[in-house]
Amino acid sequence: MTRLATFLAALFFLAGAAQAQLTIEIIGGGANQIPIAVLPFVGESALPQSITEIVEQDLSRSGRFRAIFVGGVSPPPTEIAQVNFPEWKSRLADALVIGQAQRLPDGRFEVRFRLLDVPKQSQIGGIAFTLTAAQTRLTAHKIADFIYEKLTGERGVFSTRIAYVVKQGARFELRVADADGQNAQAILISTEPIMSPSWSPDGTRMAYVSFQNKKPILFVQHLSASKQPAPVANYRGSNSAPAWSPDGRQLAAVLTKDGSSQVYLMNADGTNLRRLTFSGAIDTEPFFTSDGQSIYFTSDRGGSAQIYRMPASGGEPVRVTFEGDYNVSPRVSPDGKTLAYISRNSGRFQLMAMDLDNKQVQTLTDGQRDESPSFAPNGRIILYATDVDNRGVLAAVSSDGRFKQRLGIQAADVREPSWGPFLGN
């Protein structure tokens, strides 16, 4: 019955989700921000949302840009020849975005924009999109991604998605939203807890832990929602901590069918199960490096909870953390250079970053209960769960610790964030 209810809930897009969007509050500034002016796109009022506004918010939220005041320009230019460059130079803008939107005869829209270099008075790039009204937000995020990549040299993550768990009373929802917290959809609703959502590397499936059968069981759900979520590990004892291999073919997970919590590897459909660790201690929270060669995990085999690394095929683990007596939840950045994890320091749980080359450790957050870190696919931002006044909220910090923001939903507990992959990969 619960299964059926869950399945039905998963089928329907929640129209009511709009009033429970994540709101974003920026609580720290970054250095060396690029001053950019995003001018209103001519004709964009025909679209359901303002593309200009979304692009400007995306760029500001990244911590890498500073939006320049664009008032007093009428009409806004749509071509490079119409741009008054000395004016923008005096307003201290380094980059300028101009564009326009128009309705096509078939009811769709065309949006074209140009990114301009103010000091050089030249065009850096530009794209034209054909879109339906429903694709307005996604198009805006793609424009922001283009600008971000051209000006920082790194791929933008504005058009990617995030997943998180919301607890409202006795109701648990696994939601997927745009990276800015908007456009949230519940892909699973349950009266029992949901935890540890993990995106498949191609972004089509989600592995998670459900308690709907009074114990932790591992499921994989297709986001297209045309298929019922399937249990991939439902062994005697507990089944938890799913982690995808980078090729999406395998899942590492923690099972207790042979006694203590140990790391196992299985095909993504749950077949071909084999055990990877043999400690008799707690081994949990496996995480693949993006080259697929190693698995990081948490173990108390040395007497306290510490992070270890082992070959992805199993083998002798090497201890990675040594400071303190509680270092958990290892996540390696996509470039393999940084290890993010949670450390207990004098009773506080904080997000740490270790440079894996020189083993230097930096404390990234100053919360009381920070947990569940998740790297953006470009490695620039780490999303994590924290709490404010005993209410769960999501927060993000740049991987250098300089820029912070919080994402919360009124009157709900938000937790267990997981950042999805780049689109079209």
Binding site: S261, T284, N390
Partner: protein, 179 residues
Amino acid sequence: MKKALFSAMALALLYGCASTPVETESKPAEPRAQAPGQGLPAAPPLATRPTQPPAPQGDPLKDASNSLSKRSVFYELDKYDVRDEYRPVLQAHGKYLAENRGKKMLVQGNCDERGSREYNIALGQRRAEGVKRMLMLMGASDAQVESVSLGEEKPRCGDHGEGCWSQNRRSDMLYGGEY
């Protein structure tokens, strides 16, 4: 403990202990070696346990005066060992399971809300497994008891402080039909 010792001895006798049976306890066990169903059943077993109220008027699992109605074990922070005060309760449940082989039990381990959710699943599992092992020592079989973890996901007490946390660091014993 006494019960376990007795079972071990009975087992040793049953399989024919290799050592010379000089122990005095070997004598009363001898009549049991006879084929069952032969002659009248011996009366002594009833007389040997007068402490148990033989009245089956209610479910012993729900009778508040019976230690079988006690179902929870509580823990110190980061700890998973069963403290001595809970041994009589586990002994009663182990014995009950041994005497009722058809009964099944789910042991759910729980943690307080601090720390990693997944690590707390593992810690809760260790707590539940500790209870299961003690029940097996007291006579329950492996097949009768499943140990699972709820981690910090199903707190009994929802506030944030040690008063609450100490209630949430807990293993619960549930019999088939109760979950």
